[in-house]
Amino acid sequence: MEKIKLQDKHTHGYGIYVLVWLALVALTGLTAAVAGINFGKLSIVVALLIAVVKSYLVLTEFMHLKSEERTFKAFIFVALFFILISLTLLFSDYSFYVR
């Protein structure tokens, strides 16, 4: 009997996943289309922003983070926060590096 209590979370239908997939494919198309336009320095920012949105969709929907306990979200927040710190420190150094 206890078994059933263990995993009753996140049971969605198939529909939401198909919708998320459609959004992901559309965003891939957008990335490819936008790459043809030259935004100069902003090009990489636009490409990475779309990648972040896609990752967010995969994390929350496909990887069920939406319905997962708060601890999981805290884990990911901490992990991404430290990646951001490392990247900031890295470029606070290399931005002043001779070309």
Binding site: M1, E2, K3, I4, L6, Q7, T11, H12, G13, Y14, Y17, V18, V20, W21, L24, V25, T28, T31, A32, A35, I37, N38, F39, S43, I44, A47, L48, I50, A51, K54, S55, V58, L59, E61, F62, M63, H64, E68, E69, T71, F72, F75, I76, A79, I83, S86, L87, L90, F91, Y94, S95, Y97, R99
Partner: protein, 206 residues
Amino acid sequence: MNTQEEAVVHVYRDDIRSRMGMWLFLFSELLLFGGLFFIYSVYRFMHQQDFSIASKEMNIFLGTLNTVILLTSSLTMALSIVAMQKGKKGLSIFYQVVTILFGLTFIVNKIIEWSHEFNAGNFPGSEVLSSRPPGQILYFGLYFSMVGLHGLHVLVGMSVIGFMTVFTIRNKITQDNYVKLEAAGLYWHLVDIIWIFLYPLFYLIT
């Protein structure tokens, strides 16, 4: 139902902690790829022109196709879990097999791309590549190591899902106990996320 079923009920299980364990493993993967992404970002910053020139030799069509293939494989992976939750064993197996086949298609496309690169002499250590500017050598070095490591993850993911299919057939994964399938799914989706970043960084440099 019978004695066997009873015995299973008393086995200690904690699905939430099992998934947490999988997530912790995924963070170690994040460190592995994170380091490589850092190296990439610094070298690209230092050799912007060379990276742009070298990336023009990539096959954007195959790269985009592979992105769509991997995204679709993530969908079928997620659907195999939904099917299992609904108790549809056959459908879940079908989706798992389709996921593996998508992974295989991805690898085949990768082989086509790489053999093209190798024929053009764009592989680390070749004379053709060594004569090019340092930034382009770095680009191809990073391309082969990062995309190669990712490809290795696709192969590992495919075999992990293969094991899950065997478990499903043998009823080790069932409607009330599918945490193994979920963990395999988490791994597969992470591999997908890494590709989401590799795709614009190597194929679409303006």
